[in-house]
């Protein structure tokens, strides 16, 4: 049953992405000032929203662990954080390439990219903490608390870096300017977001099962060593 869900989600996600790529390349017109490169926004922004959604769902799952003390919730939280970290990496890499074209440099301390980099660092710390703890219960407990701190902090980081950038203006990666995008141009973005969400869910399901396997291995090893 679980395998069927994973396969269905992946195939649907792949189909949407393929159909969208066709739309992005052939149907959407070029943006006036940026040329072809702006199409990268169709990967950059959905990846960003997917990863942020993931981090916050993982925080609520972590809170669920602290309330119910079910290690499966901890496995789910860790898996969601890991998949979100992968999507955050995609966000930063595509943002960097976008910046290379628009501004000629590989990295701009643009508010969004900087905040994402901080996010990345915080969650690298999260996984470092998880690796440093052997006992599953302690690991679950401490990473849940760290997850809560991280998600509260990310809001403050975002706002403060944004305000810092308004006071010290620098290169900005933006497509909208004043209002939104033209209506025809915006819908592939949301379709890609849906595809990314489905892909992320499939990956989370696979990872959660792997975490459960790891817990089973630890339990069996302890049982074997007890004799």
């Amino acid at each position: 049953m679980r395998l069927k869900i994973i396969v269905t989600l992946s195939v649907l996600a792949g189909a949407i992405l393929a159909w969208n790529l066709h739309r992005i390349f052939l149907q959407v017109p070029d943006e006036a000032s940026q040329g072809a490169i702006f199409r990268i926004i169709y990967f950059h922004v959905p990846a960003a929203i997917t990863s942020f959604t993931g981090f916050y769902i993982a925080m609520f799952t972590a809170v669920g662990y602290l309330i119910r003390r079910d290690l499966r919730l901890d496995s789910i939280a860790a898996s969601i954080n890991e998949v979100s970290l992968a999507f955050a990496t995609i966000t930063i890499c595509t943002g960097s390439i976008w910046g290379r074209i628009i501004w000629g440099i590989w990295w701009t301390w643009d508010a969004r990219l900087t905040s994402y980099f901080v996010c990345l660092l915080i969650y690298f710390g999260y996984f470092m903490l998880r690796r440093a703890i052997d006992d599953p219960t302690t690991r679950a407990r401490l990473s849940a608390v760290l997850s809560i701190f991280a998600c509260v902090d990310i809001v403050l980081v975002w706002k403060s870096i944004e305000w810092f950038r308004t006071q010290h203006p620098g290169p900005v990666l933006e497509i909208r300017g004043g209002g939104g995008m033209a209506p025809g141009m915006e819908s592939p973005l949301w379709w890609n977001f849906l595809a990314f969400l489905m892909l992320a869910t499939a990956l989370v399901l696979i990872r959660t099962r792997q975490e459960a396997m790891r817990l089973e291995i630890d339990a069996l090893r302890r049982y074997a060593n007890a004799f």
């Binding site: 710390g125 903490l129 608390v145 509260v152 810092f164």
Partner: protein, 224 residues
């Protein structure tokens, strides 16, 4: 009242132990002076430019030197199972945490107070509005202390404690550090303060939010 009395008892214990030994404060002040020296090689600039970046340099020094004190905060209790004894005592996790926070705060402020005159002399930076600068130092230091003490509690039983603490806390501290750096820069260069009042709010919001969050969650971290 009982909360405060027991908290102050913990804080007094830590401060008394540190004042008698003076290990952490000495190491921290030495470290701050070494960083000041290294910065002088790294940033060999004209006085006007130095004044622009002085806020940033100052808070980098405070953040790095403060970590030495924060690291020892819970680690000093591991010897002779003192941490277990404290957790088994009637003192609650929140009281233990808050007491250590207060002690760390006093120690870090002492280190900052000793480093600031050296900074002023070495870089020829005379802050215009000293009282406000002290206020910024007090606000910013509380942010560093709260997050640092909380993560010190989290990492106390890990092998790589000294490595993990800086890695975990510096990204978390970015809103407080940006706020403190910006306010310090404005106060040192003499720029108009009106544009930067937002950063006071950021600092206060950061301190309030994370103090409440830490007090709420520290029992889970320490005990389970």
């Amino acid at each position: 009242m009982k909360f405060l009395r027991q908290t102050l008892a913990i804080a007094a214990k830590d401060l008394r132990s540190e004042i008698r030994g003076k290990e952490a404060v000495n190491a921290s002040v030495s470290f701050a002076l070494v960083i000041l020296l290294l910065f002088s090689f790294a940033f060999d600039l004209e006085p006007a430019v130095i004044r622009e970046i002085a806020g940033g340099l100052l808070w980098l020094i405070f953040a790095f030197a403060g970590t030495l004190i924060l690291n020892r905060s819970f680690a000093r209790e591991l010897v002779n199972d003192c941490l277990d004894a404290l957790l088994a005592s009637p003192v609650s996790g929140a009281q233990l945490f808050f007491g250590k926070c207060l002690a760390n705060y006093v120690l870090i402020v002492i280190v900052e107070g000793i480093s600031l005159p050296f900074f002023v002399i070495f870089y020829d930076v005379i802050p215009q509005r000293l009282a406000l600068l002290f206020l910024v130092m007090l606000l910013g230091t509380w942010g560093i202390t709260v997050i640092g003490t909380m993560f010190s509690a989290m990492t106390v039983n890990l092998r790589l404690r000294e490595l993990m603490l800086p890695t975990l806390i510096y990204p978390m501290l970015i809103p407080a550090l940006i706020g403190a750096i910006e306010l310090s820069r404005v106060l040192i260069t003499g720029a108009p303060l009106a544009d930067s009042l937002f950063w006071f709010r950021v600092l206060v919001a950061f301190n309030v939010i994370f103090t409440i969050l830490a007090l709420a969650l520290v029992e889970i971290v320490l005990v389970g």
